[in-house]
Symmetry: C2
Subunit: 427 residues, 2 copies
């Protein structure tokens, strides 16, 4: 990266930021009806451009295949006319959701007669940096439009052609409705553009990285604009003494295997020594049969040895890992306190589960475990904007500032205090 | 700054962070009654140590005088037994406020029977970086205790002796109640400690800089932990066509002169051309008589010329300045839209005021001006946690993420989703 490159990227991103800022001022004033009509128009435009989109996607896929992109990534990248329909349907669903902008959060009349109220307003300009899946491009544009924000998108180069056609389609549809095309912009330059975007203070109000741990780390460490971290999940299931053994096995098995590639899947199973005999032999065998590689501590291994279930010895790396696949670390502990300490050490603050029949210990776990979501007797897989009833999800925040847990439209807003008086001055 | 220094600072801050983290786990579980009793004990301890505190402060003041510290700063630094009483009274006031921790923000029962609720929890470990005034040390400790957070404080070197005695006093009082002394820690090393603090990811959950623009800029640009920016205020008063001239003069005069050193004082006056004749001649003379240096554009200058009020020509720097004193930039504009554009260009997103009798234009100003607080017919000086009825103020956030406007106890909390089920798994 040369200085010239950087300056060019800076200038490009700055220009995009200024256009986005201008667009955001208009978006902030749109009524819900106008935004919903625009979302429906975007959906129609995406469907109408389906052939172009699939063709551009085919070129991305060809490039991916030539570069030996793993099959699973190619699958995530692939668009079919059916998938394009689904992307458009998601835009239509957004139109059905309540508008977060204008919601009055709180308010009061002060003793001096001033009326104050805190009202939700758009963030302004939101940058989103993400990886392969082109549906995120449309989702992000729709979420931005509904919440009154101008979006600057930076998708992965693997989906460059798909993203270009999707964004051009949406920009045209906006223009046809006399709405600012710059509500959605796509950056398609190199890494220096990412750097420029995450340091564009005064132009970009928020950056949301969506992707793997490396992407998120790069953004968080390099950003000078506010960031919301999403989605690193080293989630634990702790089975307490006296837990219902069947429930414990169902929850642990579901949390690990129902969709192992996502951030709310469980990576670690911790079992109280008094529950281990009832739970582990069957569960370890079930997990193994489902293809799960088991990383066991010595006490868990004793149960596997008895039933002849294969395993390997757990390592520090395994305790700390988000496997994104069929692998699970398992340990036997002496107490609830040990489980909480283990989670405090290795957890990523995403979702932590206790399975217990004991009311006091459930309360203690809920109070002492520091995570975005703490669950009693439920699968970690429920940490999800859709499951929580939000109707849309931008990601799952694992930071404590502004948003924690599943993020939806509300989390794309800020607030503004409106103060109305009749000439009050301070004495 | 040598590598050795940096490593030492890193190690010191890391150790402080680990102690703070351990303390925060205990603080998070305290009941409101326990926290309020501790606040009363801290207040008593501060009063009991009054002589020691005033003595240490005298040594800070002596050092300041030797270093030719400006008189206004010496005044802010000075502690008397009366001021120590006031500091203790602020702690007692905190005991009277509601506990933000445990508040249920929202919740629902999902179709599958899962009960979900979003509950306020402490942030954990909060760093605060501030300048001369030693009362901030006690305020911050009290706010942290009430909101269940462990505080790592980094005060200005000018108040080093005062801060050391204040923190030692509070730590002793906590220990005597069997509470963790590490709920309040003071860093007193060099700049490299600030750097270590604002990059202590995983140990520090939030950093709040309180002070001048340089301090805030340094922290925001250097931090990798989340930051809340506070308090840069280039606040405008816009007098609309047809505004009540008396009200306009009262509000503009109050906003500029009632306490010109603070962030919610007005720095700029914008007047619609149709209001200028009724408002400016008297107001400019009043401001001048109150000692305000006037930076006027040509159209405003025409009014000053007629009445012989002295002024200078406004500059780009003056439009952009937060004067922190008796100086004001003044311009005459053709329209509300021009005023909004001016504020969009020069404002810092703190507090913006319109004086108007017109309902539609008030609504337009409120909708289109992007600031933490937008006021109609009231002095900007009301942007204040105390005035808003919050009972305590940490600062005034001018960022959009997490907190915007006056920040109080609630803004020192995060949330946690608690999910309770009876064995639900995802299908």
């Amino acid at each position: 990266m040369t200085t010239t490159h950087t300056s060019t990227a800076d200038a490009r991103v700055r220009a995009a930021g200024e256009r986005a800022h201008a667009a955001s001022r208009r978006l902030a004033l749109l009524s819900r009806a106008e935004k919903d009509a625009a979302l429906m128009a975007l959906a129609d435009a995406v469907v109408a451009a389906s052939d172009d989109i699939v063709r551009a996607n085919a070129s991305d896929l060809r490039r991916g295949a030539e570069a030996d992109m793993p099959q699973s990534l190619q699958d995530r990248l692939r668009l079919t006319s059916g998938r394009v329909e689904a992307i458009a349907a998601a835009l239509r669903d957004l139109a059905g959701l309540a508008d977060p902008v204008g919601e009055v959060v709180r308010g009061s009349t002060l003793p001096n007669g001033l009326q104050i109220r805190q009202v939700r307003v758009p963030m302004g300009v939101v940058g989103m940096i993400y990886e392969a899946r082109p549906n995120v491009t449309v989702d992000a544009a729709g979420l931005g439009l509904k919440s009154g924000n101008a979006m600057i998108l930076r998708g992965g180069s693997a989906a460059a052609d798909s993203n270009a056609v999707l964004v051009a389609t949406m920009r045209r549809a906006l223009e046809e409705r006399d709405l600012p095309a710059d509500a959605v912009q796509l950056l398609s330059g190199g890494r220096d553009e990412v750097t420029a975007l995450i340091t564009a203070r005064g132009l970009v109000d928020l950056v949301i990285p969506r992707g793997g741990a490396d992407l998120i780390r790069t953004v968080v460490l390099g950003a000078t604009v506010p960031v919301i971290e999403t989605g690193i999940g080293n989630c634990h299931v702790y089975v307490d003494a006296g837990a219902d053994a069947v429930m414990a096995r169902d929850i642990a098995f579901n949390a690990k295997t129902q969709r192992p590639s996502v951030c709310n899947a469980a990576e670690s199973l911790l079992v109280h020594r008094d529950a281990a005999g009832a739970v582990l032999p069957g569960l370890l065998a079930d997990l193994h049969d489902a293809g799960v590689v088991l990383d066991l501590d010595a006490r868990a291994a004793a149960y596997a040895d008895r039933s002849g279930t294969p395993y390997r010895a757990v390592t520090e790396q395994a305790w700390a890992a988000e496997f994104h696949g069929l692998e699970m670390s398992v340990g036997v502990l002496d107490s609830l306190e040990d489980a909480i300490a283990h989670i405090d050490r290795y957890g990523t603050g995403h979702t932590e589960v206790i399975v217990t029949e004991d009311r006091a210990r459930a309360r203690q776990f809920v109070a002492q475990v520091d995570a975005a979501v703490v669950m009693v007797n439920a699968s970690s897989r429920f940490t999800d904007g859709g499951e929580f009833g939000f109707g849309a999800e931008i990601g799952i925040s694992t930071q404590k500032l502004h948003a924690r847990g599943p993020m939806a439209l509300q989390e794309l807003t800020s607030t503004k205090w409106v103060v109305e008086g009749d000439g009050q001055i301070r004495r």
